[in-house]
Symmetry: C2
């Protein structure tokens, strides 16, 4: 139903997107994030530079997207998968934590990279805003009869909270030297516990979720 048909066209499109992501990340890791031009990425993916920009609106977006993948969509799916009995606030929190508590070794390296450059950090944080649309849809379903925009506001608030948590998590590493020292010491993860930060950031929103839920079926 959500997949009326794969279709050759669609598959090729995804393949291109994938190739671009992959090339962007690989080149960024190899030569450093600021020493890779769009032209190089496009060439590595076997596509014209102009096409590259049909897929990504900025160079940073491509690199970050290789790490982020479709995490946002998975969060929404995870929320939808929870039984209707659990507190909505808990369902959302756990879904977010679960999806950000990965991860592969590949992602670790990439995060180090992202931390090192301001433009990449910003793109990474901004990518978290992508939770809003899918999460809005899921929340709207749960809060069925409530006013339509409530779901949207809550979803956007979650996105904001996640952004804040990630920001705080990445902050201590700010400089490239710090990153170096951390790597040397074997500390791959920037600082503190990301799950804790996420929970803390989402906690203040719980009452809003509870109220919305109550309003639906008292």
């Amino acid at each position: 139903m959500t997949t009326p048909r794969p279709g050759l066209r669609e598959r090729k499109k995804q393949a291109t997107r994938e190739a671009l992501r992959e090339a962007a990340l690989r080149l960024a890791v190899e030569h450093g994030p600021d020493r890779v031009r769009v032209e190089d990425i496009a060439e590595a993916a076997g596509v014209s530079p102009r096409t590259y920009n049909n897929y990504f609106a900025s160079r940073e977006q491509a690199i970050v997207s290789a790490v982020t993948a479709d995490r946002e969509a998975r969060i929404a799916a995870a929320v939808a998968a929870r039984p209707a009995e659990v507190r909505l606030a808990d369902a959302v929190t756990e879904a977010v934590v679960a999806q950000y508590t990965n991860t592969g070794e590949r992602e670790q390296k990439a995060l180090l990279l992202i931390t090192a450059q301001t433009a990449l950090r910003d793109a990474f944080l901004e990518a978290a805003a992508g939770i809003e649309p899918p999460l809005t849809a899921v929340l709207a379903e749960r809060l069925a009869d409530a006013e339509a925009h409530t779901a949207r506001v809550l979803a956007a608030s979650v996105a904001a909270a996640v952004r804040i948590a990630l920001e705080g998590w990445l902050r201590p590493v700010q400089s490239a030297e710090t990153a170096e020292r951390h790597t040397a010491a074997g500390l791959v993860l920037p600082s503190g516990s990301l799950p804790d930060r996420l929970r803390a950031a989402l906690a203040p929103l719980a009452p809003a979720f509870d109220a919305a839920e109550q309003h639906t079926r008292p």
Copy 2:
């Protein structure tokens, strides 16, 4: 205390910023938003194009900033001005509504302009995110002993809600032709009541504010 001294340097800087804003808006109104180049704005403000970019990170930002001015700072100030007895959620809502319930005739014309072009609309919406820092400071003061990040999350949620309200308010006008018809009919404001939309968008967050307030002094 916040003004240790005006200083010639600072005054000149503000004058330049003002001149750029003014020039950007005037030229955009005169020739249409997409028919004004950075070079033109800079020249009209008597400054080099490179300097222009020391003040604004994008062409849209300059135009929008002429309309937005320091609305975000005023919202925070308005919240701070309310007596400590009033419900925090109400204080914030009223402050937001008051500051967005403008406005001069000049702003009306500018809004029409902004509505007409996607890039400008985006910049306008993104500008609303500027509420976060000052609002965080004010909220942190009210929620003194609560965990520090609560203020930040709430402020960011407010910013998100405002963005959503503005988005819905601007949506019906999307196309330039629609804008034309509206002007011809004398309807300057895009659609519906902005105050209503703002209140509706902020309402779902009220429980979160209440809970945070309770937590401070039960």
